[in-house]
């Protein structure tokens, strides 16, 4: 038998500010993680394409390690195991940002590299033949075109980071998921609470999805 009192949203709507406080934390942790992932992604991509063999190897290792293990395993490792090694205790927020930043930084590095390599080699050669330095060729010729190509993929990654940030509730960072689960426990109305929480996640990610679609249309229109 299903519960006759199911889907009573009135009670839950009174607690909406509590859920919204969680959503704020979700947005904060995703925003900081996105910035970290971008910085790490650029660094690793540059290292991967550098002329130094060892930098290239280390960057490849970083990418493979972070991409070949589950995010949850990494999160628990960073939060519980890393402090034992370093002797520095991490709060859940920092642990979440480190994990999401490194995991998606590794993925973004591959996106950046693919974007840059997708340009015909002739463009760079032409720039060098015209007397530009390597840095000038990268900045003036390669990057303006590559950025356009990789933008939709990069923004998609922002959506994934926002969604995956729900994992940090498992190390007790009080994000939307954590607030939803505690509210569900308190009110015994998990149906409504979890459904609203899912809706709030959609609200956080859907504008980004629209942006991806828009960018995709804009950028492929005259390609």
């Amino acid at each position: 038998m299903s519960d006759p009192h199911l889907w009573q949203f009135g009670l839950i709507l009174r607690h909406l500010p509590y859920l919204l406080a969680g959503a704020k934390m979700t947005l904060a942790v995703s925003a900081v993680s996105i910035l970290c992932a971008l910085a790490i992604g650029v660094g690793i991509a540059l290292a991967r394409m550098s002329r130094s063999r060892s930098a290239e190897f280390l960057a490849g290792l970083f990418i493979d390690v972070w991409r070949s293990t589950p995010t949850l395993a990494q999160l628990l490792w960073v939060f519980y195991a890393l402090p034992i090694l370093t002797g520095v205790a991490l709060d859940p927020f920092t642990a979440g940002v480190i994990t999401l930043g490194c995991h998606y930084g590794a993925s973004l590095a591959e996106t950046f590299r693919a974007g840059i390599l997708s340009l015909p080699a002739g463009q760079r050669q032409a720039a060098l033949a015209l007397g530009m330095t390597r840095a000038q060729a990268l900045r003036r010729i390669i990057l303006p075109q590559a950025v356009v190509r990789m933008l939709p993929a990069v923004v998609s990654m922002f959506i994934v980071i926002t969604k995956e940030s729900a994992l940090v509730s498992m190390i007790n960072l009080r994000d939307l998921m954590w607030h939803a689960q505690s509210l569900a426990g308190l009110t015994m109305r998990s149906t409504e609470v979890l459904t609203i929480a899912a809706g709030l996640y959609a609200v956080c990610t859907y504008p980004q999805a629209l942006l991806v679609n828009y960018l995709h249309r804009r950028l492929t229109a005259h390609a």
Binding site: M1, S2, D3, L6, W7, D64, V65, R67, S68, T69, P70, T71, L72, A73, Q74, L76, W77, Y80, A81, I84, L85, G87, I159, K163, E164, S165, A166, L167, S169, M170, M177, A180, Q181, A184, S190, T191, L194, T195, A197, A198, Y201, A202, T205, Y206, A209
Partner: protein, 221 residues
């Protein structure tokens, strides 16, 4: 401070971790099957000319693509029994959640594969006197399958890692076992490192295989 590593803890508990591995593989295989079949259904609905099929398919796909997998797993586990009265074991509800999630993403992969075959080919087939079904079977599908296989394979690798989220609802897969053992032995460093290593050793060869698949099946336009 120098840390005293105690890797015996890992060896002693390895059987438990490997037990979890069986569960991880079972969850991956079964939810992939659900996703492959369900995704095809959704993709066909999405490509149908009738709005009554198309709209629900779009709603389904967007709902699963815009919410976190963890929320979906917990939602299916707690909400489904309450609203339908059907009691599901953690493993079964995990399968439902992962299966539906994969179905949503697979439907987009199928759709992209089918629509990436140029419409002129369909028109040419029809002009040669083939029926719609013949065009689909002889012209479109053989090419679409070639484009669908590599992203499907990387979906599989992602799913293999994502089954670790089932730990949140108490499915005794690798990650769950690791958390239990880490809590019991007070050795999170060794246990979580070993767990990450197990995942890496299993996932990395799969990713390499996927990369090769992408190279071999690359379509030249």
């Amino acid at each position: 401070m120098t840390y005293q590593w105690h890797f015996q803890v890992v060896w002693q508990n390895l059987p438990f971790l490997l037990q979890g591995l069986g569960m991880t593989v079972a969850a991956t295989v079964l939810s992939m099957l659900v996703g492959l079949v369900g995704g095809l259904l959704i993709a066909l609905m999405r490509l149908s000319a009738w709005r009554g099929f198309r709209m629900p398919a779009i709603a389904f796909t967007e709902a699963f693509r815009t919410t976190p997998l963890l929320v979906q797993i917990v939602w299916v586990y707690t909400v489904l029994p309450l609203s339908t009265g059907i009691m599901l074991s953690p493993f079964t509800s995990g399968l439902v959640a992962l299966g539906l999630n994969v179905a949503a993403f697979m439907s987009e992969i199928y759709r992209a594969g089918i629509t990436s075959v140029s419409p002129f080919q369909t028109q040419a087939g029809l002009a040669l006197g083939m029926t719609r079904w013949q065009v689909l079977r002889r012209v479109v599908l053989p090419q679409a399958v070639r484009r669908v296989i590599p992203p499907t394979a990387s979906m599989w690798v992602g799913l293999f890692k994502d089954t670790s989220l089932l730990a949140a609802i108490g499915v005794a897969e690798v990650m769950y076992q690791a958390r239990v053992i880490a809590a019991e032995t007070f050795r999170p460093l060794e246990i979580f490192t070993a767990t990450a290593l197990i995942y890496f050793l299993l996932t990395y060869p799969q990713s390499l295989a996927v990369n090769r698949l992408f190279k071999r099946l690359r379509v030249q336009e």
